[in-house]
């Protein structure tokens, strides 16, 4: 079937029996995959199912221990990413590979062969970013960019190289619904031009909308191929996790009780010249409800989270009131003692210490829960707490003595969520609760948030995934350019309205056609 004798070969990429064994785990076992020209091919799987490893082998970052790869009919051994790029393979990683101290143009230039002229390249970047609805300023330093903006840089960097196979690892998690549509248009256009696309995502509705074919991985093995348009999200999910997908139950909140978090005209100039200034943010969050804050990344979410957690202080203590305590000038540990829990966006290095064991990482924030005795650590209690968290939240790991950086991103997220939830906070602030987490685990985490709400905790969820916010929130507000919209009851709004609001236009009548805005 794959005759390359005349004309173009039938398959752009063919994998046969790919196996990759890491010292502690078999990442891929006998994986075969065929991608045709101009095909958008989904790779589905839970965290740790081996999707990323497989993509890394195609892109030359890792090498298979067995099996072979054919590129346009020819047997190839991809030596390294530069080799992959020279073949015409581009990849947008889930974890970004950008130099923080360089600006956008310089980062893009580093990935290109030769020594491109920077000014010319900047113009090209602007052009590509306009064409694909990925606004980014070529002169800005990467360290000042939000997660969403960094991902845009990664996508643009790939597109500039006119790849014949584009690998996209969870590309849409930080885009507005309107921008996702634009990206899909772009991808379809690329596919129509003959570029093949390997699309990794856990968003089943997106895969259904976009992809021609899907290959499903579970525990490193292929469990099936399907045509997404002929499947339901439920049937694909069960192929992926091996059982039915749980759907979070979400009743209306019982009667609202006291205010647990109150922001009074919170304003804060950004410490970073490229950051977003917070302007007069006001809301009240009561016991027993979940308030969701939507927004395109880089619109003040980071700054708001720092001001809420106490990692950055504000001058007016009354602008942040936590459980009745004016807290604007309190350090994070003081806010925790007053009843706040906090899950940050970055897991490794902020929510957890990479080189420390899960036990020690539990101690990081659980120490006020009677884990100390005259300043000495009670190791028996803290390791029991960590074990409990691992069991309760199905954290897949070697045990509580294993280092945080030996866990997959999703499992570490479950551990951090578990740690904060088990501390029974009165107020829980969560950033991106399920970013990069597979559907099974995401549904589980959302259910736990709702359960916690039912126990009376006030929960603030800041997320860039609208579906998630609509699944868990009771009320929803939007942050745009450092300002916060009024919060709406979930029943009184819909995804389209919130999508429009994400462009910062909640004061105008919602008649304007805003698809032009990314």
């Amino acid at each position: 079937m794959t005759s390359a004798t005349d004309g173009a070969p039938a398959f752009r990429l063919e994998l046969e029996g790919i196996t990759k064994i890491y010292p502690s785990v078999i990442a891929n076992e006998d994986v075969s995959l065929k991608v045709e020209q101009g095909e958008i091919h989904a790779v589905l799987g839970e965290n740790g199912a081996g999707k990323s490893t497989l993509m890394k082998m195609i892109y030359g970052v890792a090498k298979p221990d067995a099996g072979q790869m054919k590129w346009e009919g020819e047997l190839v051994h991809v030596e390294n990413p530069a080799h992959a790029r020279s073949l015409g393979i581009g990849m947008v990683f889930q974890h970004f590979s950008l130099f923080e101290t360089l600006n956008v143009v310089e980062n893009v230039a580093l990935a290109l062969p030769g020594n491109p002229e920077l000014a010319q390249l900047a113009a090209q970047i602007t052009e590509v970013s306009n064409r694909y609805g990925l606004p980014v300023d070529p002169e800005r330093l990467v360290h000042a960019l939000s997660v969403g903006e960094r991902q845009r840089v990664e996508i643009i960097r790939c597109l500039l190289q006119n790849p014949r196979l584009l690998i996209m690892d969870e590309p849409t998690s930080v885009l507005t619904p309107q921008a996702v549509r634009k990206l899909f248009d772009t991808l379809r256009q690329l596919a129509a031009e003959g570029c093949s696309i390997l699309y990794i995502s856990h968003k089943l509705d997106e895969i259904q909308e976009l992809c021609h074919v899907a290959t499903v991985l579970r525990d490193g093995k292929v469990t099936g191929d399907c045509i997404p348009s002929q499947e339901t999200p439920q049937s694909m999910a069960s192929l992926m996790i091996g059982k039915e997908l749980p759907v979070p139950e979400h009743d209306a909140p019982s009667e609202l009780r006291e205010v647990r978090l109150k922001l009074n005209r919170l304003s804060k100039p950004s410490e970073d010249p490229f950051g977003t200034e917070l302007r007069n943010i006001e809301f009240e969050l009561r016991s027993g409800e979940i308030l969701g804050i939507a927004g395109v990344s880089g619109n003040g979410q980071q700054e708001l989270l720092y001001a809420l957690s106490g990692e950055e202080l504000v001058s007016d203590p009354d602008s942040v009131v936590i459980c009745g305590h004016p807290s604007g000038c309190d350090m994070p540990d003081r806010r925790r003692r007053n009843g706040m829990g906090f899950v940050p966006e970055e897991r490794l290095g902020r929510g957890a210490v990479p080189r420390m064991s899960l036990t020690e990482n539990a101690l990081l924030t659980a120490h006020p829960a009677d884990m100390l005795n005259h300043g000495m650590i009670r190791f028996d209690r803290i390791s029991a707490f960590a074990r409990n968290c691992i069991d309760d939240f199905n954290v897949k790991c070697g045990g509580e003595e294993h280092a945080a950086n030996s866990l997959s991103g999703g499992n570490l997220q479950k551990f951090i969520m578990g740690r904060e939830i088990l501390l029974a906070p009165k107020l829980l602030v969560v950033a991106q609760p399920t970013w990069g987490v597979d559907v099974g685990a995401a549904a589980f985490i959302r259910q736990r948030l709702i359960d916690l709400r039912d126990e009376g905790t006030a929960i603030l969820v800041i997320s860039e995934e609208l579906e998630e916010l609509f699944e868990v929130s009771d009320r929803i507000a939007v942050i745009a350019d450092g300002r916060l919209s009024p919060a709406k009851q979930l029943a009184d709004t819909d995804i389209d309205e919130i999508g429009v609001w994400m462009s910062g236009m909640w004061d105008q009548p919602a008649t304007a056609e805003l698809d032009a805005h990314a």
Partner: protein
């Protein structure tokens, strides 16, 4: 084709094997060095590493030299674990020696144990005072503690030089730049007759024990380790970065000051310009060879002390320059840094792909 490949998880085995490999390579390097200098390498090895500890007196001298190294290294390790880089223990040792000497000279006429107790306190506080300068500047103005603490070493050296040429000079000392010899009440008691090992060795063992408990059992020690591994995680958890700078620098300063007191009240019995034999810098190497672990510091201090003694022997019996000790210290640090690469990486033999 030999390739350096990142390990999936840092190797625990290698992090402890690395110092041993470094010691082995240092020995090999030493043998080579002796050969190149035209000496019999085995003879050199014997003079350097065996002769100094061939009798009980030698062993006591080894413990005596190791005492200040243990004290300083354990104090520094507390800060190093939190990425607080106190490079100025040498200066803190000198100031501790000065303040302890001031007490000893002030109480020349008096008998009783209070003199020694006051000297211990003065030594520790003197070292802390000197370390408080970089701590204050760091927490108040965000200066770099590496530079400030290092520069203060030279200030301390000039200070002690001025003192022993002036206010502290022995009036009956024929203008030699040194103080009076201390009275017996200002000298640390010897642990046994016939050698110079004194009570400071017990202090050092106690410091190692306290250091161990602090680092591995206390919450403050845990907080400092978190700050060292992941600054943002410490901030997220609300651990005060300033508090860690203060604890890190003051613990190093206190221990270095105590070591300075132990020198003037121990083997020296007076203060001169040469209070320290670079113990403050050697202790940095000790702390790193020991992986900032108090148990390791005990053994690494013995090794470093042996290099001091071996260097003296090599001068006497092999006509080698005194800097031979520094060469060995340098080799040890160099090989340690080199073999530390293999904690996070491993060598793999890969078939070249056709």
């Amino acid at each position: 084709m030999l390739r350096l490949e990142r390990r999936p998880e840092a190797s625990h085995l290698m992090s402890y094997a690395s110092p041993l490999i470094a010691i082995g390579l240092m020995l090999v390097g030493g043998l080579l060095l002796f050969t190149l200098l035209g000496k019999n390498p085995l003879e050199g090895f014997k003079v350097f590493f065996i002769n100094p500890i061939s009798d009980w007196y030698g062993v006591s001298e080894l413990l005596l030299k190791a005492t200040p190294l243990m004290l300083i290294a354990v104090g520094l390790a507390v800060g190093f674990r939190a990425n607080v880089w106190n490079i100025g223990a040498e200066g803190q040792l000198i100031v501790g020696g000065i303040t302890a000497s001031a007490v000893a000279l002030y109480f020349q006429e008096s008998e009783g144990v209070h003199v020694l107790i006051l000297m211990v306190l003065a030594g520790g506080l003197g070292g802390m005072l000197w370390a408080a300068i970089p701590a204050f500047l760091k927490t108040r103005f965000n200066t770099n503690e590496i530079l400030v603490s290092l520069m203060l070493v030279y200030v301390a050296q000039l200070l002690v030089s001025w003192l022993v040429h002036g206010p502290m000079m022995d009036p009956d000392g024929f203008n030699f730049p040194q103080s009076r010899m201390f009275e017996d009440s200002a000298l640390l008691p010897l642990l046994s007759e016939g050698n110079r090992l004194n009570l400071a060795f017990i202090f050092a063992l106690a410091a190692l024990l306290v250091g161990y408990v602090f680092m591995y059992r206390s919450f403050t020690g845990f907080q400092m380790q978190v700050a060292g591994f992941a600054k943002n995680a410490a901030r997220y958890a609300g651990f005060s970065a300033k508090r860690m700078v203060w604890i890190g620098l003051l613990s190093g300063g206190a221990m270095a000051g105590l070591a300075g007191m132990a020198e003037v009240a121990g083997p020296m019995g007076q203060i001169t310009e040469h209070v320290s034999s670079n113990y403050g810098f050697a202790a940095i190497i000790v702390a790193f060879v020991a992986r900032l672990n108090p148990v390791g510091i005990f053994f690494a201090s013995l090794l470093m002390a042996l290099l001091y003694l071996g260097g003296e022997q090599a001068q006497q019996y092999m006509n080698l320059p005194s800097s031979i000790s520094n060469v060995f210290q340098g080799m040890l640090l160099l090989f340690l840094l080199g073999s530390d690469v293999f904690i996070n990486y491993r060598l793999r033999w890969k078939e070249a792909v056709a």
